[in-house]
């Protein structure tokens, strides 16, 4: 194994993510400070947590309470490797889903004299760069600091080692999963023929839904606490599963069983090495597996003047809208946007059933569920799709530059696509929301209209941001919009949404027990419509100007 090669590969993998892109950037440049800010921040927060908890613990005079905290810390330490494993498994899998699952044999890295061991190790470590590593830094610094007050440095050292090992274990598992999945997907495409496009679409959505639900369970406060308790209690029962051996080593150390600690630790290391060996073998066999071609149609069929044409779109505009629909149902990284409304529906519904339970709905529950399900998904969709709809063109954007497309047509077809997709989401979420919450007719009407207004306004606001901040970088994953633009636009949209919804604020205050004088709901909705129209018109003018600049600066 050439370690320098591994380091170079990791550097290439992470370099694209750190690249600073600007309108006229010709040379590579990056702000190194941002590279370390995440880890520095995690370190500082971890130290602060460790100091705060340690000082509290050190200042306690009640010995029983001290013992309880000491025991709880032990339970937490035992659970942490498993938690980190789950957390990193989800994070690295989510990272992989955004990248091309199959490594392209045309990438220069695969022509060069680099072994599969080096490729696999670099890929495994590169998965961990960013949030996964930052989470380990945070936990490690907190544990190390707190352990000084506990007076149990060996336990802290072993816990930190277990965290690192767990993260590597998760990443190696992801690497194996990625290779197997790309091979499996290839086999599925081969057998599913023309249905392959839809098989992929549904399969990807199911995969994302599963992982989002796990992610939500892990990151929600209650879920994490339940998991910690469950993991600490269940590890002994499932000791034969190698993934829990790191936690078992910690549990053995706390119980003073040093030989057992050493055995579990050694077994864990051997398991990680075996798993890594398996990943290398699978990569060697299938790493550059080329999946079979997906055949979508047989014979020559061309589109005819369509429904979109009857709605007033030119053949050019209709073609772009049709192309974007295909992109969003065929490109895995774009299918990602469909997950948002599904999560918007599923998570509150699960909470609705799980928290309140039974057949009786508590008073006020529907009042919160309805605005959440009617206002949020469509607006969020409009904002997300608006920001990425230009950048998703990637390097194929040259066709727009070379085509006889005017700025007006570009804005029209892209804005129409944003609205159509968001309205479809609103329709689905709205129907489910109304069926579940059974609101009064006027309230349902008001929310539906407000949601449409949000889609119209935030769609055009985000389209302008998407044009100005378009990022056509596609490797290692399509970026679509610059992070700063995305960040600023999210804040802007949030502010504008509040402005649009402001005539309904008296109703919201009434619900939370602060009644103030309010106007008729239909008048409030009308005022909202005027505000939204003004915002949409102002941003439409600005978007046209941005589109003109975008098309005229094609070669810059």
């Amino acid at each position: 194994m050439n370690w320098k090669n591994v380091a170079r590969l990791i550097s290439i993998d992470t370099k694209a993510g750190r690249l600073i892109r600007g309108g006229r950037t010709r040379r590579y440049r990056e702000r190194r400070i941002f590279q370390y800010l995440l880890y520095g921040g995690a370190l500082v927060i971890g130290l602060a947590i460790g100091l705060a908890v340690g000082n509290f613990y050190g200042g306690l005079s009640n010995l029983d309470l001290k013992r309880t905290i000491h025991e709880s810390a032990g339970t937490l330490f035992i659970s942490l490797p498993m938690l980190i494993l789950f957390y990193n498994l989800v994070l690295t899998m989510m990272g992989q889903i955004q990248r091309a699952g199959v490594k392209s044999s045309t990438e220069p890295l695969y022509w060069l004299p680099i072994t599969w061991e080096e490729h696999t190790l670099a890929s495994t470590v590169a998965h961990l760069i960013g949030l996964p590593l930052a989470s380990i830094v945070l936990f490690s610094s907190a544990i190390a600091t707190f352990s000084i007050y506990l007076g149990d440095l060996p336990l802290a050292a072993l816990t930190i080692f277990a965290l690192l090992a767990s993260a590597f274990l998760a990443s190696t598992t992801t690497e194996i999963f990625r290779v197997l999945l790309s091979r499996l997907i290839g086999a599925i495409y081969k057998t599913s023929g023309k249905a392959a496009v839809w098989v992929r679409f549904v399969g990807t959505l199911l995969f994302l839904i599963a992982f989002y639900i796990i992610w939500f369970s892990l990151t929600s406060g209650a879920g994490a606490v339940i998991l910690i308790q469950a993991v600490a209690g269940a590890q002994n029962a499932v000791w034969f599963i190698p993934y829990v051996w790191l936690g078992m080593a910690l549990a053995s150390l706390i119980s003073g069983l040093l030989v057992q600690t050493a055995i579990f630790l050694l077994a864990s290391i051997l398991f990680i090495l075996a798993l890594f060996y398996l990943a290398v073998k699978l990569n060697t066999r299938f790493g550059l597996y080329e999946p079979p071609a997906i055949t979508v149609s047989k014979g020559v069929y061309v589109s005819k003047p369509s429904f979109l044409g009857r709605l007033g779109f030119s053949s050019l505009e209709a073609a772009v809208i049709r192309k974007d629909f295909k992109a969003f149902t065929r490109r895995r990284e774009l299918m990602y946007v469909f997950i948002t409304p599904i999560v918007f529906i599923l998570i509150p519904l699960m909470q609705y059933v799980g928290i309140w339970g039974g057949s009786t709905t508590p008073p006020g529950a529907s009042t919160f569920l309805l605005p959440w399900m009617l206002l949020a998904p469509g607006a969020f969709m409009a904002m997300t799709v608006g920001m990425m709809i230009i950048g998703e063109e990637g390097s194929s954007v040259w066709l727009f530059y070379a085509s006889p497309i005017t700025s007006r047509s570009l804005v029209k077809c892209k804005y129409a696509f944003i609205c159509i997709l968001s309205f479809m989401v609103l329709l689905i979420c709205g129907v489910i929301g109304i069926l579940v919450a059974s609101p009064p007719l006027d309230l349902a009407f008001a929310f539906l209209i407000e949601s449409m207004l949000l889609i119209f306004a935030l769609g055009i606001v985000s389209l302008r941001a998407g044009i100005r901040g378009a990022d056509f970088v596609e490797v290692p994953r399509p970026r679509m919009v610059r992070p700063l633009t995305s960040f600023l636009n999210t804040f802007l949209c949030f502010g504008l949404a509040i402005v649009i919804l402001s005539p309904l604020i008296p109703y919201a205050l009434e619900i939370i027990g602060m009644p103030i004088m309010r106007i008729d709901v239909y008048v409030a909705v009308s005022i909202s419509a005027v505000i939204a129209a003004i915002i949409a018109f102002a941003f439409y003018r600005m978007t046209l100007k941005s589109a003109e600049e975008f098309l005229s600066k094609a070669g810059s």
Binding site: V302, A319, S395, A402, P404, T406
Partner: protein, 261 residues
Amino acid sequence: MLMASTNENAVELQKVAKRYADIVAVDYLDLNVKAGEVFGILGPNGSGKSTTLKMILGLIKPDSGSVKVLGVNAQEDPVAVKRLVGYVPEDLHLYEFLTGLEYLDFVGDIYGLVSSEKKTRIEEYLQAFDLEGREGDMINSYSQGMKQKIALISAFLHKPKLLILDEPLAGLDPKSARIVKDLLRELAAHGVTTIMSTHILEIAQAMCDHIAIMYEGRLLALGNIEELRQKAQLPGSNLEDIFLKLTGTGAVKEVVEALLK
């Protein structure tokens, strides 16, 4: 009725300049391309060929000078120019998630072709370029040559009056390359102008009526092969020798010997 090359200029570049920061891409270029001719632009890497082609198409605005394409000012009305032009870029990036057929259908719609006409032309071109049977597959499974064929068909599809082709024969099999060459000659006879950039000098010599040789953003020489021979003072020589002499890159032997040491 066949139309031979006329005296009308299809493309007129007057004192066109383009800089990228401290790099001079095109240095006050004057160039006229007659309607109905196949015109070759040659030059070493970085000599400004692609930038010139992009300025003709209206993709890049020159810093100074004017570009007229078929009587239309490319800076003032680039969309009108694009309607008249078929373009194949050097770096091919097609929508990989579309099938070849869907891509051509999309391009046909972009140029406003009616359905029946679009269908007929797509069928004819797919057959000519041996893509029948693969037109329903997603482009991501195509070879480089197949992608090049799709790009060429999409440039020919709307019957443009001007073709701008950057390395048009790259990756093509001999039969398809021959079809493209013959097609360009036939189109020229029908008054269609082609401006192509290539590094394959035999192709340029065989296909082009006139050739411009660019170097460091400037026009070194312009004319037919005989005029270029006279300019280079190399009677009876081929285009490769002329090119190497004019661009001052002819000391190949010494370079090879140095590399072999």
